[in-house]
């Protein structure tokens, strides 16, 4: 018995040592992520009204995510590629399960597995680009129309499932991460133009199928002053927070907008506004530079990857990551509608942070295995 335990723990230890002894991670990307996580925890500390347990909880998730990152980075991309369809099917399955028996806070986004509660849609954010890359990988590029249609189905099913939750913002982001793969796969510009034209034509029909609250959000976005206490309140208060921050900000923990609860959701979706209010334009630009650096590094890794699948996954993941930032930044500054997209690795929330770090684990793996032949 003791021997069994000893041998088991011994094996586990050896596997662990193999994974962690010589981490083959990209140091610049890792530093970028570390800086981002520290910024995130700092802003969260203020946004949560100096709630230590909240910050420690988030830090614990970062640690869990970092461990996952290290673990995934050891897995060769070929293996990841082989697992991709299963990962995609699992994510889709969870979305369906969620739709059948999901429990939610208004919107059904959370799946409770007893031990952990998480959002399958966050999982799909990672599974989607991997799946499209998996599909396009053995096929001639630039993609042909039939491949585009097949990819459209692969993107469409989960996007609709998420959109039905209803979480329009995440659905669009998931779709975007898939479409980035098409883009990176060299889809001809004229085809991109044709697709954009098609989407424009379909938009009125989509409007027809939208939920009232989604339409309301779009309408409020267009005319926030019309509803200063309803949905428009969020945008107005967020813009006040950002604008009143000025160049240098009001200082750590000095933001009146978040401290006095004018700013809604100030630890999650609107945490960027807290940063804008307390650290000013300087803080905002610094954060954007960190993001741009991380994304640039992802694309650099992608460009140096050894096969199509790796390139597409790393590239589309980087671009999607950037889109999250742009959508969140646009949302809190009143450029885009309030769609409920967190600021990656800064907003409070477990699933998002862990999934994103896992995604970066994939990127690290691609980086680590760039010179290896399968």
């Amino acid at each position: 018995m003791n021997e069994l335990v000893a041998s088991f723990s011994g094996r586990a230890f050896r596997i662990g040592r193999r994974i962690f002894s010589r981490p083959r991670i990209d140091l610049p990307l890792a530093i970028g992520l570390l800086v981002l996580a520290l910024i995130g925890l700092t802003v969260l500390y203020s946004a949560s009204n100096l709630d230590r347990s909240m910050v420690l909880g988030q830090a614990a998730r970062f640690v869990a995510g970092a461990l996952l990152l290290l673990a995934v980075s050891r897995i060769p991309p070929t293996l990841l590629r082989a697992w991709t369809p299963w990962f995609y099917l699992l994510s889709s399955f969870l979305l369906i399960v969620l739709m059948v028996l999901g429990e939610g806070r208004g919107a059904e986004r959370w799946l409770d597995l007893g031990v952990i509660r998480f959002q399958p849609s966050e999982l799909m954010k990672l599974a989607m680009p991997m799946m499209v890359a998996w599909y396009l990988h053995p096929r001639p590029l630039p993609p042909r129309w039939r491949d585009i249609i097949a990819v459209g189905v692969l993107i469409g099913i989960p996007a609709i499932l998420v959109g039905k939750q209803p979480d329009l913002g995440t659905a669009l982001l998931i779709a975007a991460s898939g479409l980035f793969v098409l883009f990176l796969a060299g889809l001809q510009w004229w085809k991109i133009g044709a697709m954009l034209a098609g989407i424009t034509a379909v938009a009125p029909i989509a409007w027809h199928f939208m939920h009232d609250y989604q339409r309301e959000r779009v309408m409020t976005f267009l005319h926030p002053e019309n509803d200063p206490l309803g949905t428009g309140w969020h945008i107005i208060q967020s813009m006040i927070a950002v604008g009143s921050g000025g160049v240098l900000g009001k200082g750590f923990n000095q933001g009146t907008q978040s401290k006095l609860e004018f700013l809604p959701e100030h630890t999650t979706d609107f945490i960027f506004a807290v940063l804008g209010e307390e650290f000013g334009l300087v803080g905002v630009l610094a954060l954007l530079v960190v993001y741009a650096f991380i994304v640039g590094r992802c694309l650099w890794i992608a460009a140096n990857a050894r096969d199509t699948y790796s390139r597409l996954v790393a590239g589309s993941f980087g671009l999607a990551f950037m889109v999250y930032v742009i959508v969140n930044g646009g949302m809190i500054s009143g450029l885009l509608p309030v769609v409920g997209v967190p600021l990656p690795l800064v907003s409070y929330g477990g699933t998002s942070a862990i999934t994103l770090l896992t995604g970066f684990g994939v990127v690290m793996s691609i980086h680590a295995h760039r010179k290896w032949t399968p």
């Binding site: 060299g186 604008g243 590239g315």
Partner: protein
């Protein structure tokens, strides 16, 4: 996969991917720069604007309405008070569906139709983020019930406030008046800064007259609030300056005594200190409870007051117009002397009927066959009509009016109360204007006994008597003696216009006084039977008056001694002052349904005199307020005791 065979292709793929990745990164960077540009715009160019809005967000200006000044009688009894109460306030901004909210709320706190109507009216007068009062003076149980359910009603809160209270109720309703909620018309003319946060304003009486003194200056608080408008801390506070306290000339005990003496008979009584014009009592019967009006009178209560045949809302003391009847005789008699038409010793023969020379129309005396030959003193004592018929005729209506106007007849006395009426002093011009008819000499004759178109208010008559008794020195009657900025602050005398001397010869006044003493003390005097002067430590000079409401049409009048019948036809007056040798109080009592001035009205005046002079020894009475001394200096008048 067969990676090896695709190797030549691999370089091209990599290059193509590189271009795409670069293009994608470039697009993303452009978009990111767009977001960054937006932040630059918000944080640099719009910074001032949003800073202001952030401050406005968290800082609420809370108006602190000033506590209204208190009102005291001359001995410091509190006549108008502020008491803490609770009201329900609504911030319209925070209520999504007002009608729905009101409906749900009315299930918890009873809201009358009046409440809701007033609330909706005042909604228009306030800005959307200002508190609008919905219900005043909440009961304790309403408050408790609402507190439990408050979470269901964002934007609705219970707030403490001070409400006006009149501890003496109907005793001073016609003097102090009442405050009420500011209505739309008032809102438009009020200074919004001075009345920020104030919900009530003086509507009638002294509350209206001295609104400027009573109101005070509002303060404010800059309060930091959170998004739920919950106040977190006070950033700055400027306290409100309370309104001035008013100290009145009126005496609560005398007022009460007068009310008791009137015993519910419809009428009025006014007492004035002849030395200075201080109004000591001003009573109107019936009265009403002014507290009903403060927080909005209910429709039922208001209808009841309006439909009462005795009109309790009518301030008879200064708005009730009655023919003065024989009470004008002392004034007319004095006029005869002052204008040099007669001497005090001149006599007139009373035979029961008097004729205008060359006319056959007869004017009657009250005594069927006349009183014989009477001088001025006897004419006043016995109220001999003939003496005054002939005097008025001799004087002529122009001089008559000119003389009477000096005593304040025909125009408001100028008392410090709003909406006083001036009665009617008939003149040919007035008649031409009003009725488009010429003046007949007979109208001059009956004016001599206070009949015809004459209308005086009890206040006017009291004021005229105060002038007569006070050595012909006319003080504007007033209720406000002094003001102060708080209980501990010194009282500051309220300035009064200087008095006017309207008579020349003290001997003339003495003759008239002799006649008025006769009214009370001579067995022939019209008030002698009533025993007005009996067992009173000071001399009382008086005059009765009985004015007819209808003209005589039958001879039944002369024989009918049924008092109820007479009361139906008469208005009874009694005017008097005492002590006659150094007057301290002049009183006019009017009864709308009195049979005779001597029997019905005189005892009431006597009870007031008891209260003022006999029951309370003068030594215990508070001294005359400084006002009187201040304003009398320089004026010529009889020495004041």
């Amino acid at each position: 996969m067969n990676g090896r065979s695709e190797l030549p292709d691999e370089r091209a793929k990599r290059a193509r991917f590189g271009r795409r990745a670069l293009a994608g990164f470039a697009i993303m960077l452009v978009m990111l720069l767009g977001v960054a540009g937006r932040f630059v715009y918000l944080q640099i160019f719009e910074h001032t604007e949003y800073s202001t809005r952030a401050k406005a967000n968290r800082v609420r200006l809370k108006h602190l309405p000033p506590p209204r000044g208190l009102v005291y009688d001359r001995e410091g009894r509190l006549l108008a008070d502020n008491v803490p109460a609770f009201r329900l306030d609504v911030i319209p901004d925070k209520v999504k569906h007002m009608d729905d909210m009101l409906q749900r709320l009315s299930a918890i706190v009873p809201l009358t139709q009046d409440d809701i109507q007033r609330f909706k009216q005042s909604l228009k007068q306030h800005r959307a983020f200002e508190q609008v009062p919905l219900k005043f003076r909440m009961t304790e149980s309403d408050r408790d019930r609402f507190a439990i359910n408050q979470w269901q009603f964002p934007g609705v809160s219970i707030d403490p406030y001070l409400t006006r209270n009149y501890p003496y109720g109907d005793e001073f309703a016609h003097v102090i008046g009442y405050v009420g909620r500011i209505d739309e018309k008032e809102q438009q003319r009020l200074d919004p800064d001075r009345y920020a946060g104030t919900t009530h304003i003086g509507k009638t009486g002294l509350e209206k007259e001295y609104e400027n003194l009573l109101h005070g200056t509002p303060g404010y608080e800059l309060v930091e609030v959170n998004a739920n408008q919950r106040p977190l801390r006070v950033l700055q506070r400027v306290a409100a300056k309370p309104g001035k306290n008013l100290y009145l000339t009126i005496d609560e005990r005398l007022q009460k005594a007068a009310i008791a003496a009137l015993g519910g008979q419809t009428g009025a009584a006014v007492a004035i200190d002849p030395r200075n014009g201080n109004v000591l009592a001003m009573v109107t019967i019936p009265s009403f409870d002014p507290n009903l009006f403060v927080n909005g009178i209910s429709q039922a209560d208001y209808s009841a007051l309006l439909e009462d045949p005795e009109k309790p809302l009518l301030n008879r003391a200064m708005r009730g117009g009655y023919p003065p009847g024989s009470t004008v005789k002392p004034f007319l008699g004095l006029g005869g002397l002052e204008l040099g038409l007669r001497k005090a010793t001149d006599t007139v023969m009373s035979t029961g009927t008097w004729y205008i020379p060359g006319s056959s129309r007869g004017y009657r005396d009250d005594v069927r066959y006349g009183s014989g030959r009477v001088d001025l003193v006897q004419a006043i004592t016995q109220s001999v009509n003939t003496y005054f018929y002939s005097l008025a005729y001799q004087m002529g209506i122009q001089r008559f009016d000119g003389w009477m106007a000096k005593f304040g007849f025909g125009s408001p006395t100028g008392i410090d109360l709003p909406d006083e009426t001036g009665g009617v002093l008939p003149s040919p011009e007035w008649k031409r204007k009003t009725f488009k008819q010429p003046w007949y000499p007979g109208e001059t004759v009956i004016a001599g006994i206070g009949q015809g178109y004459w209308m005086v208010t009890p206040l006017q008559l009291a004021h005229a008597l105060a002038t007569l008794s006070g050595g012909g020195l006319s003080h504007t009657p007033h209720l406000l003696a002094a003001t102060s900025d708080g209980l501990k602050a010194p009282e500051v005398a309220y300035p009064q216009p200087p008095p006017v001397q309207i008579t020349h010869d003290p001997a003339d006044l003495a003759a008239v006084r002799q006649g008025m003493l006769g009214v009370v003390y001579s067995p022939l005097g019209t008030a002698y039977q009533a025993g007005v002067g009996k067992d009173f430590p000071y001399l009382i000079a008086g005059k009765t008056g009985t004015a007819e409401r209808y003209s005589r049409t039958t001879n039944a009048y002369n024989t009918n001694k049924n008092l109820e019948y007479l009361a139906e036809r008469h208005r009874a007056w009694f005017i008097c002052y005492a002590p006659a040798d150094h007057p301290q109080i002049a009183i006019a009592v009017a009864l709308e349904h009195g049979a005779w001035g001597g029997s019905a009205a005189a005892p009431i005046a006597r009870k007031m005199l008891n209260q003022w002079l006999a029951d309370t020894p003068p030594s215990e009475r508070p001294p005359v307020p400084v006002t009187a001394i201040a304003t009398q200096s320089g004026a010529q008048g009889p020495s004041t005791p």
